[in-house]
Each structure stands twice: as structure tokens, then as C-alpha cells.
């Protein structure tokens, strides 16, 4: 290859490589021209109701907030969530596209309590120019769970009562943004909360039907603390509250000990977490003579695909309850 041709090839390749990040950003963000640094206002006005059809543009982090709000807000809101199905919010890093999305919202809702651990800076700067509410932090401290180290368990959406309060706080914010629709929001909220009450009754009933000694829920990480508290299950996570730490051999062995001691029939993997460590637990238990089944996949930090039953908060919750019930209450 002649020298100039070689140079051209190198330059072309370098240019192509440099383009790839741009493509990725477009893919996850939405294609608008990049102007963004943190919290830049790239197109949305901050006054309420000035989006398409005058609907309030709401951006949330997790879908557990987004989906219920889209039901309660009806056609008066347009809701998006940054984290889709299968995404782990503990590890999630906001991309430039996400920042732009946040910047274009009329209101931002997130869980807080350190769930979206890598996004605190983004929230702080967004909060300066528009309402950014950590719905989890509106709950009174004494109602929250903490672990041995004193860290607060952020997975509050698994306690239906707590979640009702958190959603209510978000709805209040919506009412402030569009006072004309306050009555509309209130009515929807009441209907939706009635459904949530039904869900809770159903869950309590199903879980009580599991024999006492089998009410042990073993999952990949400690996401189900509130779930267990509400429904009378003992909850054991392989990892702690966050998926940030690596799982140690001690964690696996401790879990196997518990399984063998309590003769737990099933363990569960999660939709957003690598199942390899749970598989190691199952194999280790098998060596000790206990045939632990893989009870199924639970939704822990994320929900199911958009448009599916499990993509809704109620559907997701119900899926978890049914899966657990079937695995633990069923014949061994």
C-alpha cells in the first residue's frame, strides 16, 4: 500500500471509530442535535402543559413510577421512563440522551433513597430548573427498612401502602403543575388505588396459603425486604441491598446453609441480574442433598416489557406473587 493510501485508511478508520459513540448516543437518546451538558434546556419550556396537546411531560427513572402515573394522569400527561425492562438502577449511568430527556421534562420523578446511585448529580442540577421529586424520600423514616449497616432499603415499591403514599406525593406535584386537571387526577388516583388495595388483599391471601415453614424467599439481591414485611415472608438475598458489590463465596455458602437448614424448595432469579450466582447456590445445595428448584424469574428492580401485563406495576406485582406462590406452596 502506498503511503498516502495507508494514511487515508488510518484516518478513515479513526473517523469511523469516532462516529460510533455518536451513533450510540443517538440510539439511546433520541437524535436531537447535541447541545447538552448537565441540565441544559434543550427544547422544553418549564411552564406546565406546554408540550404536545398541552400534556404535562413527565420523565421518571424507573417504570414502577412511570406506569402508574401514566394511568393516573391519563391523557393529561405524557410519561417516559429512562430505565426499561431488565435494567439495573443501582448501576445505571445516565447517558447524554437521558440528560437531554430530563431537560425536556416538565417534571422529573425518581425513587431516591440511593436507588439510582449514579444519578445524584443529574438530579441535583435538574432540580434547579424544574420540579424533581424523590418520591421515596417523602415517606417517613420510621416506616422504612434498614440493613445491619444502617443503609436504607430503597425498594419501597414492594410495599403497596408505602408505594401508594409515594405515588400520591407525585400526583400532588402534578396537580400543582396543572391545577385545572386536579379533579381529574384525583378521581383517577382513587380508582387506581382501589385496584392496588385489591392487589394487596390478593397477595396477602396467596402468601398466607403457603405453609409457615416454607415462607422463605431466596433471591439474588436484597430487593424484597418490603415485600417480605408486608406479606409475612422471610427474605434472604444473596447480595446486599445494592448490586454494586461482587458476590463472595461466603455469601453463597451462607445462603446454601440456610436453604439446607430450612429445606426451602425453590430459589428465584431476577430479571435484571446475572443468574450465575443463584445457579452456583443451586448446585451447591444439590451436593448437600437438597434439590432446590429454580422457582422462576422475579421482577426486582425492573418491570416487564412495555405493552405486556408484566410491564404494568399491578401486573408485575401479581406475576411475582403468583410465581412465588406456585413455587413455594406447590408439591415438592
Amino acid at each position: 500500500m502506498s503511503r498516502s493510501k495507508k494514511k487515508r485508511t488510518i484516518v478513515l478508520t479513526a473517523a469511523l471509530l469516532a462516529l460510533l459513540p455518536l451513533l450510540a448516543a443517538c440510539g439511546s437518546g433520541g437524535g436531537a442535535a447535541a447541545t447538552g451538558s448537565d441540565g441544559g434546556e434543550a427544547g422544553g419550556a418549564s411552564a406546565a402543559g406546554t408540550g404536545k396537546d398541552g400534556a404535562i411531560h413527565v420523565v421518571t427513572t424507573i417504570a414502577q413510577i412511570a406506569e402508574p402515573l401514566s394511568v393516573i394522569g391519563g391523557d393529561r400527561v405524557r410519561v417516559e421512563s429512562l430505565m426499561g425492562p431488565g435494567v439495573d438502577p443501582h448501576l445505571y449511568q445516565a447517558s447524554q440522551g437521558d440528560i437531554r430527556k430530563l431537560g425536556s421534562a416538565d417534571a422529573v420523578f425518581y425513587n431516591g433513597l440511593h436507588l439510582e446511585a449514579n444519578m445524584t448529580r443529574a438530579f441535583d442540577s435538574i432540580g434547579k430548573s424544574r420540579p424533581a421529586l424523590a418520591v421515596g424520600e417523602t415517606i417517613a423514616q420510621d416506616r422504612l427498612l434498614t440493613d445491619e449497616t444502617g443503609a436504607v432499603d430503597p425498594h419501597i415499591w414492594f410495599d403497596i401502602d408505602l408505594w401508594k403514599d409515594a405515588l400520591a406525593a407525585a400526583v400532588e406535584e402534578l396537580k400543582k403543575l396543572s391545577p385545572d386537571d386536579a379533579a381529574y387526577f384525583e378521581a383517577n388516583r382513587r380508582d387506581y388505588f382501589a385496584k392496588l388495595d385489591e392487589l394487596k388483599e390478593e397477595a396477602v391471601a396467596k402468601m398466607s396459603s403457603i405453609p409457615e415453614e416454607r415462607r422463605v424467599l431466596v433471591t439474588a439481591h436484597d430487593a424484597f425486604g418490603y415485600f417480605g414485611r408486608m406479606l409475612g415472608l422471610e427474605v434472604v438475598g444473596l447480595q446486599g441491598l445494592s448490586t454494586e458489590d461482587e458476590i463472595g463465596l461466603g455469601d453463597i455458602e451462607r445462603t446454601i446453609d440456610l436453604l439446607v437448614e430450612r429445606r426451602v424448595p425453590a430459589v428465584f432469579v431476577e430479571s435484571s441480574i446475572n443468574p450465575k450466582s443463584i445457579e452456583a447456590v443451586i448446585e451447591g445445595a444439590k451436593e448437600r442433598g437438597l434439590n432446590v428448584r429454580l422457582g422462576g424469574e422475579l421482577f426486582s428492580d425492573a418491570m416487564g416489557g412495555a405493552g405486556t401485563e408484566e410491564g404494568t406495576y399491578i401486573g408485575m406485582f401479581r406475576h411475582n406473587v403468583d410465581t412465588i406462590h406456585e413455587a413455594l406452596a406447590g408439591e415438592e
Partner: protein, 307 residues
Amino acid sequence: MIGLSHNALWVLVSMLMLGTAAGLVGCFAYWKRHSLMSDALAHAALPGVVAGYALLGFKSLPVMLLGAAASALVGALAVSWIRSSSRVKEDAAMGIILSVFFGLGIMLLAIVNRLPGGGQSGLDSFIFGQAAAMVRQDMRLMTAAAAIVLLVVLVSFKEWKLHLFDPAFARGLGLSGRLMDAAYLTLLVVVIVIGIQAVGVILMAALLIIPAVSARYWTNAFGTMLALSALFGGGAGVAGAYVSTLESGWPTGPFIVIAAAGIFLVSFLFGLRKGLLLKAMQRREQMRRLRTRAIRSDKLTEGEALP
């Protein structure tokens, strides 16, 4: 080793085998002056792992490992291409490939993690490793890898010695340098690809580099160096893995690296051939002799310092 659970056994044996294989191959890399290359290739494997998942749409370990091997090899080719067709020196070429490929891998990872099921694929665990979750299958795989490496080393020991010392002369005798390099690269990629599941892309290089370097301080024979390197690698693997079991939440990969570093420190200070302590003692002995001679020839009186 009382009361070792099955999981602990699988992890310890896996790490022993991996450490041994890495120690052997790392010794070759050391004498090829390619230690940085093993780091570059380990990092270069990341985009292949992610692509292996992304293209298939679901998690399949063999495919991901194949992807890792392929992208590591592409990285190796890229390094030779850069070296042969430009002014860039070898270590800079390796640095370029290491960072570009790793960056590409992280970027692909970010994309995949936004897809449904992306979090389940376990791709993140390839960065730092997940040694604690080794099961019987993994143990078998690592033992097989170690066996293959050991076999190749033993069978063609003198060929490796010749090729590493004087490749031009070797070519003259009919030992194809290309064949040896291909074999070496294959072994390296196999060890890397199998190892990154356990200790991750970032720490794999430590297991390839540190045992070999430590062995150098103890011996002046190539065969002994290979044996010691394997021993140190395996020892670090087992020791690190064992320590990580003592407390919950302690990550296995980093502890293996610390164990290896500990072995290096001991070798550096106390190594029989080039250790610091030995050198200090030798120097002291030389000074003593010098003084004695100076005193004897009346150039110095006792108690006086040497000029």
C-alpha cells in the same frame, strides 16, 4: 482444609488451575517481552463478549467466549499491523489497542444494558470477574485448560527455550517462528478467555504477569522459572480465593491479585537470585573484603572508614 464446602472446593480448584495455566503462559509472555500484550488482549476481549451476546439476543456462554477469543485475536492482529505499517512502537501500539477495544467494549455494554434482559446476561461480571460463582463445569474447564497448557509446555520445552532465546537461529534450524508464535498466541487467548470469567478483564493481566516476574528472582534456569511461575500462579489463585471466603462480601478476583503481589514482594526482597536482601548481603560481604584487604596492606587502620 477442614469443612470445605463444595462451592469452596470448586472455586479453589478452579483458581488453582487458572493460576497455574496463567503462570506458565505468562512466563512465555515475559520472555517475549510481551507482558503488556497479555493486558492488551485481556482488555480487547471485552467487546467480543458483549457482541457475542448482542448478536445472538440471548446469553450463551460458548458464544460469548468465542466472541472474546475472536476479538482478542483481532486485537493481536491490530497490534502487529500497527507495528509493521507505521512508526508506532510496540508498547504504544498495545496501549492503543488496549484502550480502544476496552472503550468499545464498555460502550457496547452500555447499549446492551439498556436492552431487555441485558442485565441478566452477566456481561458486567466479565469486567471484574465472578470467581465465587464457579461451579463444577467451570472447574472442569479450567482444569482442561491447565492440562493443555502443561502438555504443550512439557512436550516442546526445548523448542520453546530456543524460540524465546534466539528466534532467528531457531528459524535457521527449521523451527517455524510463525508456528511457535501462533501456538503461544492460542494458549494466551485460551487462558485469557477462560480466566476473565473468574477474575475479569482488568485483573487477568495481573495473573499473567506477576507470577512470572516473581519467579525470575529465584532462579537462573528457564525450566525452574516455568515451574515456579506455575506454582506462584496457582498458589496466588488458591490463597486469594481462600482469603476471600473468610468474610462475606469480599471479592475474589482482587484478593487473588493481592496474593500474587504478596508473592512478588517476598520474591523481590528475599529472592535467592536477584532479591534485594541477597544483593545487600553480597554488597556488605564485598565491602568487608575490601576493608580487610585495605587494612592488611596498611592502607587503612582498623576502625577507619573506607574513602
